[in-house]
């Protein structure tokens, strides 16, 4: 590759600076790539639609049913045809409404000439079918027959003619979403406004996917940001915890509560849950904050299934201080890496601009700048991994495993900060020194990633 080609590539500038996959051969050599990146295929909604239509008509042909019924059943059986055959024998689906000869509708209780029924022969007028379908779709539930005790469900082909316009479109959209969700090894890209579909080429696991179309990076298994070495369920709990910051709120709530009426802070003195606000005299229940006057009837609902609130609270109060400081310890480090990642992203962007100008002015060759860019990418990878080590550590029980994990984490932290320092003060270090720091950090990261993916 000549310098000018590289420069072209560099100059395009639009692409996010962290498209590092292809750049870092080190990863591939050591198989970190396979550990972190999920093997998959990107297809458009249209192609996926065509694929499922084809499968549905094949199943429809083999069972001698309509495509609409085939689709509904395949969705319910996760597109497994042998499960679908069993489901088919057990369920009843109406794929079209047929005009009948009766002349009275039992739902609106009016004489009508437009009575329709599926094979179950429960006949109702067209207006009633329409209202019924609309009501069911608005509640996002299956459209069933209106007959007393009838279990026939209407499929797409019977429902669509009943809901013209925007509701019909919405129904088709929901149906398509359900199809994607029900299809094993397939998921939507979680990127905003992206309709790209990801198809797994390996067994589903919490590895990284980078969308072909919108460049969003996410975990294939749960759709959240890629989060190795933390597990899907753990990261979900962690993110929830961070977002509602409940620890701090809990701490305050153990002794005081805001009056639901005037918001003044009230300290609970005795054991009684009937609390009166000193300021506005509002009387409320300490447990649920509801109005005490209306509590006469609802009191049992409020406390019946709970353990003694006093005992729980006392226990909580003692533990809260310790658990709060533990949480803050991990949270601060998590948050710190997030901030650093953002700041370094800006730094890298500036670096690109500087490099572009300097190379144009013939101050040094592209090679001189390339190693800074590479070091920046490695630093970002390390920070990203480090960030996601903290939720894992927070939820780990004290054990040998945790000690080893925190040891590796500590080494990566040190290497990462060393690299960050050398990168920020690049003019004071030689290319060799920077490369050495990059290699050390990369190696520590690989050690940690590999040892955690074995679990």
């Amino acid at each position: 590759m000549s310098d000018s080609e590289d420069y072209e590539d560099f100059g395009s500038g639009d692409e996010s600076w962290d498209d590092f996959e292809e750049d870092i051969e080190l990863d591939k050599a050591d198989n970190v790539d396979a550990i972190e990146n999920f093997k998959c295929l990107f297809i458009s909604s249209q192609i996926f639609k065509a694929k499922v239509e084809k499968e549905a008509s094949a199943f429809a042909n083999s069972c001698k049913i309509s495509v609409s019924v085939a689709k509904t059943i395949l969705m319910k059986s996760k597109w497994n045809t042998s499960t679908a055959s069993k489901v088919l024998s057990k369920s009843k689906y109406g794929d079209k409404l047929v005009k009948t000869r009766k002349s009275h509708c039992d739902v609106c209780d009016e004489p009508r000439k437009d009575l329709y029924a599926t094979f179950c022969q429960h006949e109702f007028c067209l207006d009633c079918w329409r209202y019924h379908t609309r009501t069911r779709l608005q509640q996002r539930s299956d459209v069933c027959c209106m007959g007393h005790g009838c279990e026939v469900l209407l499929t797409e082909s019977a429902v669509l003619p009943l809901v013209p316009g925007s509701l019909g479109k919405k129904f088709e959209e929901i149906l398509f979403d359900c199809m994607v969700i029900s299809y094993p090894g397939v998921r939507f890209c979680p990127g905003p406004d992206c309709s790209e579909i990801v198809m797994a080429l390996e067994e589903s696991s919490p590895k990284r996917v980078r969308c072909d179309s919108c460049a969003t990076e996410f975990c294939f298994q749960c759709g959240l940001d890629f989060h190795h070495p933390t597990e899907c369920s753990t990261i979900k709990v962690w993110l929830q915890k961070c977002s509602d910051d409940s620890e701090t709120a809990d701490y305050i709530a153990t002794k005081t509560k805001d009056c639901p009426m005037c918001s003044s802070c009230i300290e609970k003195s005795g054991g009684c849950n009937h609390v009166i606000c000193g300021l506005c005299k509002y009387e409320f229940c300490w447990v649920c904050s509801g109005d005490w006057k209306e509590h006469g009837a609802q009191y049992y609902e409020c406390s019946r299934f709970k353990e003694d609130p006093e005992a729980v609270r006392a226990e909580l109060e003692n533990e809260t201080r310790a658990s709060l400081s533990k949480y803050l310890h991990y949270f601060q480090r998590w948050d710190n890496h997030s901030r650093s990642l953002k700041m370094e992203k800006v730094f890298q962007k500036n670096l690109q601009e500087i490099a572009q100008k300097e190379v144009q002015k013939s101050n040094g060759t592209w090679i001189d700048w390339e190693h800074l860019k590479r070091a920046g990418k490695i630093l970002a990878q390390c920070r990203y991994t480090l960030k996601f080590t903290y939720p894992r550590a927070y939820f780990m029980d004290a054990s040998k495993e945790k000690m080893l994990f925190e040891y590796q984490q500590g080494i990566l932290e040190a290497d990462c900060e060393d690299l960050a320092w050398k990168l920020e003060n690049a003019r004071e270090f030689s290319v060799a020194q920077l490369e050495q720091a990059s290699a050390a950090a990369q190696k520590s990261r690989m050690t940690l990633v590999k040892s955690t993916s074995l679990l």
């Binding site: 739902v107 429960h122 027959c145 007393h148 006469g296 049992y300 609902e301």
Partner: protein, 201 residues
């Protein structure tokens, strides 16, 4: 639009109800002065040969605007001790009032279904966990309590269980609200000690 369907349907149902009559099977609809077609009262008799026999149970019936495509909202306003009915709010756990509702059903069929629920409770699908637990673990106590509630709240005939009445009076004499005491005693299998402890908290 759907609103007018709802009103028309309810009017027809009420006319039909009056024509067929409900008294023979022990169900009644009470429209009051007829000013509100979307909210009125109903009443069912406790079925004979059950703990509710002879009791009269009042219900509040609310018709949603998209009736009959959505089920009517119905709850007991007369307190009742039943595994599928909340002893606190009167909310009813019955499939045809939620998932199994079909537009072709009527208020008449619903009231008859509720009456049938009184005849055969389903403790495996409880609305009131405490009542259901008592029904499963201490059937004799459940029967006596349900009967006591029927006599106390729903004017079912017969003398009140003397032991229960005694306990009730004793605790009420300590200055607690009568309804709360009855609920607490019932929840604690008529153990005065436990019921009191609950009331004090």
């Amino acid at each position: 639009m759907a609103d007018s369907i709802a009103i028309a349907r309810v009017q027809k149902e009420l006319k039909d109800f009056q024509k067929k009559g409900g008294d023979l099977v022990g169900i009644r609809l009470d429209l009051g002065d007829g000013s509100d077609m979307m909210k009125f009262k109903g009443e069912i008799d406790g079925p004979p040969d059950t703990v509710y026999a002879g009791g009269k149970y009042k219900l509040l019936i609310e018709i949603p605007p998209n009736y009959p495509f959505s089920p009517p909202k119905i709850r007991f306003t007369t307190p009742i001790w039943h595994p599928n009915i909340s002893s606190v709010t009167g909310a009813i756990c019955l499939d045809i009032l939620s998932t199994k509702w079909a537009a072709a059903m009527t208020l008449r069929t619903v009231l008859l279904s509720i009456q049938a629920l009184l005849e055969s409770p389903e403790p495996d699908d409880p609305q009131d966990a405490v009542v259901a637990a008592q029904f499963n673990k201490n059937r004799a106590c459940w029967e006596a309590t349900a009967k006591f509630w029927a006599q106390y709240h729903a004017s079912a005939p017969g003398a009140l269980n003397a032991t229960y009445k005694d306990s009730l009076d004793k605790v009420v004499a300590m200055g607690f609200d009568k309804q709360k005491v009855l609920a607490s005693l019932s929840q604690h299998d008529w153990n005065t000690e436990n019921a009191l402890q609950f009331l004090f908290n």
